[in-house]
Symmetry: C2
Subunit: 413 residues, 2 copies
DNA sequence: AATAATTAATAAATTATTTTATTAATATAG
DNA sequence: CTATATTAATAAAATAATTTATTAATTATT
């Protein structure tokens, strides 16, 4: 495959690992990271920040300009003295590609360094199977997306691919899909596309989108609850995604929470998910109808078994009393679970997303009430609760943001 | 106060922040960190590790020898070629001081860079009050400890002080004690002793001792449960102590867990601690006696109200059936809580300490059974459960280890 | 036992970086 | 409108680092 032009974020050869070339390379990366964080910056500020002389920084800046990565943004406004030049990233110089694998479709998106969307394709037909054929099809779809525009391939510096199930982001192995080769999945993708790739769990990628796109992220302790058909959790602790020993951290849906007899999809009984999830909501709704309770949905469905989570949520938003009640009770139960999370992670923010969060206040108000009831006020005071805006393509965006994050922070998570 | 001689871990003046002096200083610190981690190392290995030339490393090594921090350990064994010299830290060149504040006593310990104990003083009389007098007394005790040996003061590079309650390790403010000044507590201690100081929550310091002294700490995801009069938790997530937004992370004892009517010391009802803690055990034990159940302890106590947690644990270890039963039931309840922790943190190890853990198998076996019963086997498989060895002076040792850790890792937590 | 092969340490040569001095650009005061 | 003060950028000088060549130390081999 074609080699990416932008070597700045590719590893440099081993023989150069010692010496000046390597150190200049490192410093250039640091400069780019700084410009990304702070925006337009002067040579003096950069040289102070990195304890490097201004002639040295000047030289590297000139090289970065020649490489097409940064540009001179003119002079800064100052009160006195000669005005320094400002330098900033050329957002269009580098791209990130995000891929979100669903069961029956793929979504792909391209984002530039300034986080502007370049192009998105939704609902690309794809049959996810644990087979080599399916994997090759995936690579083909990605390559065809990239080749839509001849200028793109050379600009893409990293590709992130979201998969459901257990994913080892460090080794690049997926546990549930494409696990038939000795080579890590990420390496195969890399070989087929010619661009460095990584894989990530889809809920965590979505969570990362929420974390990254949110304004207030002071201390970096944020939780994202995905209340959908299942119940997922993504954790950002002290600025880093939490994985735990093998990537299971945040298995919120399966903590033992109820003394009930409902068997969870995980095989255990009493999991939080057995009573708090879209799946549980469907079950509870149908049970109530069988018990003789009424709902506006009865008119729309000939066969009540066809009622789905989304229908119930829509009904609640159209004032269906039974739906509102069930969602409210569920939110109260979730609130107690959230209190546990607040005490264990002491987050500054919890964001609620997924289908259930779409029922807005019917879900959010009882949730908040319960959290207030059960939590220590001194701990609770730290934590802000928020509904997700439910942005389309959060998964793909999360993969793109993660790609950018990994490019700028190669060492830790 | 006398200034510490070892400037290597003190911040260098601002005017030197640019330039060669600063960079050499940084590289020397990196060398010391490497020697601490890897033990005896050659100049070539160091220069490769840090992308620095061997003449440069050679020069810095000579300087470090002159400063008395490292020593030439003779030649390495090699198969072929000239044998390189090995260099290693002089453990005795730098000390760490740990201070553990109890309600009525202080414990102080001194440890060298190789983690050898130098001197420990237990049960120093001290009355902890939120007053300036009490604070001055504390400083006096610390200074008197240091002055026991005229050679110590100059060798101590950092002092760690453990306090109960909420502690901000970053700002240096304590929430519950010595909170009457605008100056952070850590700065006051620093001024009075002439050595850089930090403060930390006592449970977290204890937890850090357990993490640091344990052999297997691969991925750095470890929990420490302090099952004592209260119920505490210390979390090491991805190699870093977990604090959360304001240092409340790990408030395990106060998660809403029971539908009971017992008012917790925190003011809420239903907290895990209301039924799982030494405090709860005392209450339950006395209630059972009042209900007419019998125990061997009835013979030893004229007034049954004087029975304490430690007596019940001792009784259990001497085959007292009632004590064993109560501890067993408590361990089962804790097991369910532990399962929640396993699902949320996916740790590789959980260590159980505190007084309750001293009842060994009476506590540990029912605990393990319950964890196995409630947890997802695939997540559970990652987690090893262990009883703490219950080392004397774990708090002071934790403060010393933390001091060393902070000296070697100044940037993150 | 002498020699070749190998690697470490050091010295010398080369290259790179920083420091300083100089020139350029800009605002303010007289 | 010019002089002065102030800061940026650049050039020159000084310093420091790396690279290379050389010498030293060591094992295996002839």
């Amino acid at each position: 495959m074609k080699q990416n032009k932008h070597s700045i974020f590719n590893d440099i050869p081993d023989e150069q690992k010692s010496g000046v070339v390597f150190k200049n390379h490192q410093l250039k990366k640091k400069i780019i990271k700084l410009l990304d964080k702070k925006g337009a910056t002067t040579i003096n500020d950069i040289s102070k920040k990195f304890n490097s002389s201004s002639p040295k920084v000047n030289k590297l800046i000139q090289e970065l300009i020649d490489e097409g990565l940064i540009e001179d943004l003119g002079k800064a406004e100052t009160d006195v003295g000669r005005r320094p030049h400002l330098y900033g990233l050329i957002g269009d110089s580098m791209y990130f590609l995000g891929v979100d694998l669903g069961r029956n479709s793929i979504e792909i998106g391209l984002m530039d360094f300034n986080e502007n969307p370049i192009h998105f394709s939704r609902d690309i037909e794809f049959n996810l199977e644990n087979s080599e054929k399916s994997l090759l099809q995936l690579c083909d779809i990605i390559n065809r997306f990239i080749d839509q525009n001849p200028g793109w391939r050379n600009k893409i510096v990293r590709i992130g691919v979201n998969l459901s199930g257990r994913v080892n982001h460090l080794s690049g192995y997926s546990h549930n899909f494409f696990n038939f080769t000795k080579t890590p999945l990420s390496s195969i993708l890399e070989e087929k596309t010619g661009v460095p790739c990584f894989i990530e769990n889809d809920t965590r990628a979505r969570a990362f989108y929420e974390f990254y796109s949110h304004k207030s992220k002071d201390s970096g302790n944020i939780l994202y609850i995905n209340a959908d058909y299942g119940l997922g959790l993504g954790v950002l602790a002290q600025g880093r995604l939490l994985y735990g020993k093998s990537g299971y951290a945040g298995e919120f849906g399966h903590i033992p929470f109820f003394e009930n007899e409902i068997i969870c999809i995980c095989g255990k009984k009493g999991c939080l998910e057995t009573e708090v999830s879209g799946r549980a909501l469907e079950k509870q709704f149908k049970d109530k109808l069988k018990e003789g309770q009424s709902s506006s949905l009865q008119h729309s469905f000939a066969n009540l078994e066809n009622i789905r989570m989304d229908d119930i949520i829509k009904a609640a938003n159209n004032d269906d009393t039974l739906s509102i009640e069930l969602i409210g009770v569920m939110a109260e139960k979730l609130g107690k679970g959230i209190t546990t999370l607040i005490h264990l992670y002491n987050p500054e923010l919890i964001i609620f997303g997924g289908a259930l969060a779409k029922s807005k206040d019917h879900f959010f108000l009882p949730l908040q009430m319960t959290v207030n009831k059960y939590s220590l006020s001194i701990v609770r005071a730290d934590t802000q609760l928020e509904l997700s805006k439910g942005t389309e393509g959060a998964g793909v965006l999360g993969a793109c943001y993660l790609a950018k994050h990994k490019v700028l922070n190669p060492n830790p998570s």
